[in-house]
């Protein structure tokens, strides 16, 4: 959907489609110039990502490539490129252009030559430790400083041996070789990055391997102008960088919608029958088993799988249940539509059932005709072209940028199960009369607490992703949260919700600024999984009780219309808040009407500071 005069993601995708895979850099440059001609004011904020790049070599020519690949994924990039080679000082200096730019993602592109040059500055006997320490110590000091300032996410590549080695066949025995220095650096880099939540390792060695080392580096431009990456490597890296940007923007795919015939198995079930389809340990058929395995890898990271197929439901489900080589079975599916309705309607209906925006869904369907038709009906849906040969499916699916998952919380991993529980709940809903009855029958339990080490990642994720039931849609990063909690400027409430069908996990967050005159609700959000159960009332009552306990008799709050949070628009008025002239909502805690819902059971509440396991939640 595009507003009048506004560019939409489909328009960006069209401009990017002028460049095909394998085309030289000049084609990217031309397409990037076409992007530049779009008037900035017509690009809506939701499509814009602020991306910074710091490098140890020339990266200016990489920007057009990155911007075009981002446009291919429907993103417009505002980019910041640090001055040549100044990656350390940019990170360490809070006054640098990097800090002022406030990126959502920062890519650190550091090549192995940085280590190589340091190594030759050492006096023999050469050792890896001082070389690696000499680079990583200031680098991580810079990352620490940057993170404290609310850096967003930082992505740094592993080190790659730039050239064929001349260290001889005995190099593997020695700790004094450059190969050893590279391996040692990567080991430490991996370890230190893995201890941080907001930093990620970019698998450059893997990407170089895929492009082929011979084609990955351009030695002529390397020596002439310190530009080491070849056209082909720039394109391959850009494609993956875009995945990080999409994920950081909350635009990653949440649900993959799968076709069946010639997508999850070979052949047409309706024609060849359950024993005739190609699916099994030998070719033809083994390529589909591998493809299913890759899809399950994605599902394990929290991406939902759903089916949308034109088939007879009972026949298709029988294959899912009984075929010995089928890996994706009903328990792995969040939902399915197996019928003869048109696919666009089915996908819309899946989006409704799963409560996921169509722009967060991706269709995998072998039929070019179905893809074209669905894309025409639902322009915001991601509909990539599958390779014509199913042998390529398993390899290809890993290249889709929108399937990158940055944060995996316990909730992510249980999500499919939660949607299935919700299927059971829906069935239950149709069999009772009133909403009140429904809620009472659910046996709702809530667990309210203050944020601690165990819940921090989930709180950050909810703040970043929740669009619907969100009073203010303020996005706070982890550094900010930690700082505000530590200084007691914020009380960050969390609420877990469960009912007799299952556990929704941590699904509500409220940030309260306690002051003597009034406690102010800075943020208040509810995951869409628990909308409609009145659990938000329970959380508000708890906040009110705490405020009263602190001798405060007024709550204040705000509602900021984001265009997507209509479901939260009546929350304050429904709970006795009145708006003043400045749009601030106030509620006296002496006035009646704020009561704990009778059908919700509180569990495990400890007043602030008294809980034995309440680390960091002061």
């Amino acid at each position: 959907m595009s507003l009048e005069g506004q560019v939409d993601s489909a328009a960006l995708e069209r401009l990017a489609s002028a460049v095909q895979p394998g085309q030289p850099w000049s084609a990217y440059q031309a397409a990037a110039r076409a992007l530049d001609r779009i008037p900035r004011e017509t690009i809506p904020d939701r499509l814009r990502a602020r991306v910074a790049i710091l490098g140890s070599f020339t990266l200016d020519p990489f920007l057009p490539v990155l911007r075009v690949e981002a446009a291919r994924a429907g993103l417009w990039l505002d980019t910041y490129l640090a001055p040549y080679g100044l990656y350390l000082s940019e990170l360490l200096d809070p006054g640098s252009g990097l800090y002022q730019f406030r990126p959502i993602v920062t890519f650190l592109a550091i090549d192995g030559d940085v280590l190589w040059n340091q190594r030759w500055a050492e006096t023999p006997p050469l050792k890896s430790e001082p070389v690696v320490g000499g680079l990583l110590t200031p680098l991580f000091a810079g990352l620490d400083a940057f993170e404290r300032a609310g850096s967003g996410i930082v992505v740094m590549n592993d080190f790659v041996l730039p050239r064929r080695s001349t260290e001889g066949v005995n190099a593997f025995r020695s700790k004094g070789t450059f190969a050893h220095t590279i391996a040692h650096a990567n080991k430490h880099l991996r370890l230190r990055l893995s201890l941080r939540d907001q930093t990620f390792l970019f698998p450059l060695a893997d990407v170089v391997g895929q492009v082929g080392r011979t084609h990955a580096f351009n030695w002529r431009t390397h020596y002439r102008g310190h530009l080491t990456w070849s056209d082909a490597l720039m394109a391959a890296i850009a494609e993956r960088y875009v995945g990080f940007a999409l994920a950081a923007m909350g635009k990653a795919t949440k649900c993959i919608v799968l076709d069946l015939d010639n997508t999850l198995w070979g052949g047409v079930l309706g024609e060849e029958g359950p024993t005739g389809i190609a699916l099994g340990p030998h070719w033809p058929g083994s390529e589909f088993v591998d493809f299913q395995r890759e899809l399950l890898n994605l599902q394990r990271q929290g991406i939902l799988l759903a089916l949308c197929s034109k088939n007879n439901e009972s026949e298709a489900l029988a294959v899912l249940r009984d075929h010995p080589s089928m890996l994706i079975r009903e328990p792995q599916l969040a939902a399915f539509r197996i019928n003869w309705e048109d696919k666009a309607s089915n996908i819309r209906s899946l989006a409704g059932e799963l409560n996921i925006g169509l722009d967060h869904m991706l269709l995998l369907d072998d039929s070019p005709h179905e893809r074209a038709w669905v894309k025409d009906q639902i322009p915001e849906l991601r509909v990539p072209d599958l390779p014509p040969d199913p042998s390529m499916y398993a390899h290809w699916v890993g290249s889709l940028p929108s399937l990158m998952v940055l944060q995996q919380t316990a909730e992510d991993l249980q999500r499919t199960q939660q949607y299935q529980e919700s299927r059971t709940r829906e069935t239950y809903r149709t069999s009772i009369d009133s909403l009140e009855d429904f809620l009472r029958g659910l046996g709702l339990r809530v667990h309210i607490g203050l944020v601690d080490e165990g819940s921090m990642a989930r709180v950050v994720q909810l703040l970043a992703k929740t669009n619907q039931f969100n009073l203010t849609t303020r996005r706070h990063d982890e550094a900010t949260l930690r700082r505000q909690v530590a200084s007691a400027a914020w009380r960050v409430y969390t609420m877990g919700v469960a009912d007799r069908f299952g556990d929704f996990g941590l699904t509500a967050v409220a940030i309260v600024e306690p002051a003597a005159a009034a406690w102010h609700v800075e943020s208040f959000l509810l995951s869409c999984r628990v909308i409609g159960k009145s659990v938000e009332t329970a959380l508000l009552v708890r906040i009110a009780e705490d405020a009263r306990g602190a001798g405060v008799s007024v709550l204040s709050a705000e509602f900021i219309d984001s265009g997507r949070n209509q479901v939260a628009s009546t929350f304050l008025s429904n709970h006795g808040f009145d708006a003043d002239a400045e749009g601030r909502w106030l509620r006296s805690l002496d006035a009646p009407g704020l009561e704990w819902p009778a059908y919700i059971t509180p569990a495990g509440w400890h007043p602030a500071g008294t809980a034995p396991d309440n680390h960091g939640g002061r």
């Binding site: 850099w25 440059q29 031309a30 020339t58 200016d60 020519p61 002439r224 102008g225 530009l227 056209d231």
Partner: protein, 84 residues
């Protein structure tokens, strides 16, 4: 002749793409001096695009001289003639 016009039209296209100018504006008088976007960085990229497109390698001296449409066509003509 056919080869020559293929070369000049491809060079024109590359110059247009790298320097963001209309292909029609690129003719005998088109040079680095008269083109604001012809920076040293774009020159680096232009040369490497020409090298991969025409499968040639230019020397340091040649690279310094490839500063106009005419000079590029001439240099490529010399290289491709020598190659056959």
């Amino acid at each position: 002749m056919g080869d020559e016009s293929r070369i000049s039209s491809r060079v024109r296209q590359l110059l247009a793409q790298v320097l963001d100018v209309p292909p029609d504006s690129i003719g005998p008088g088109f040079s680095a001096d008269s083109t604001g976007g012809w920076t040293s960085l774009n020159h680096l990229m232009l040369v490497s695009q020409l090298e991969s497109e025409f499968e040639v390698v230019f020397s340091n001296q040649e690279i310094g001289e490839l500063t106009s449409f005419t000079a590029i066509i001439e240099a490529l003509g010399r290289r491709l003639d020598a190659g056959t």
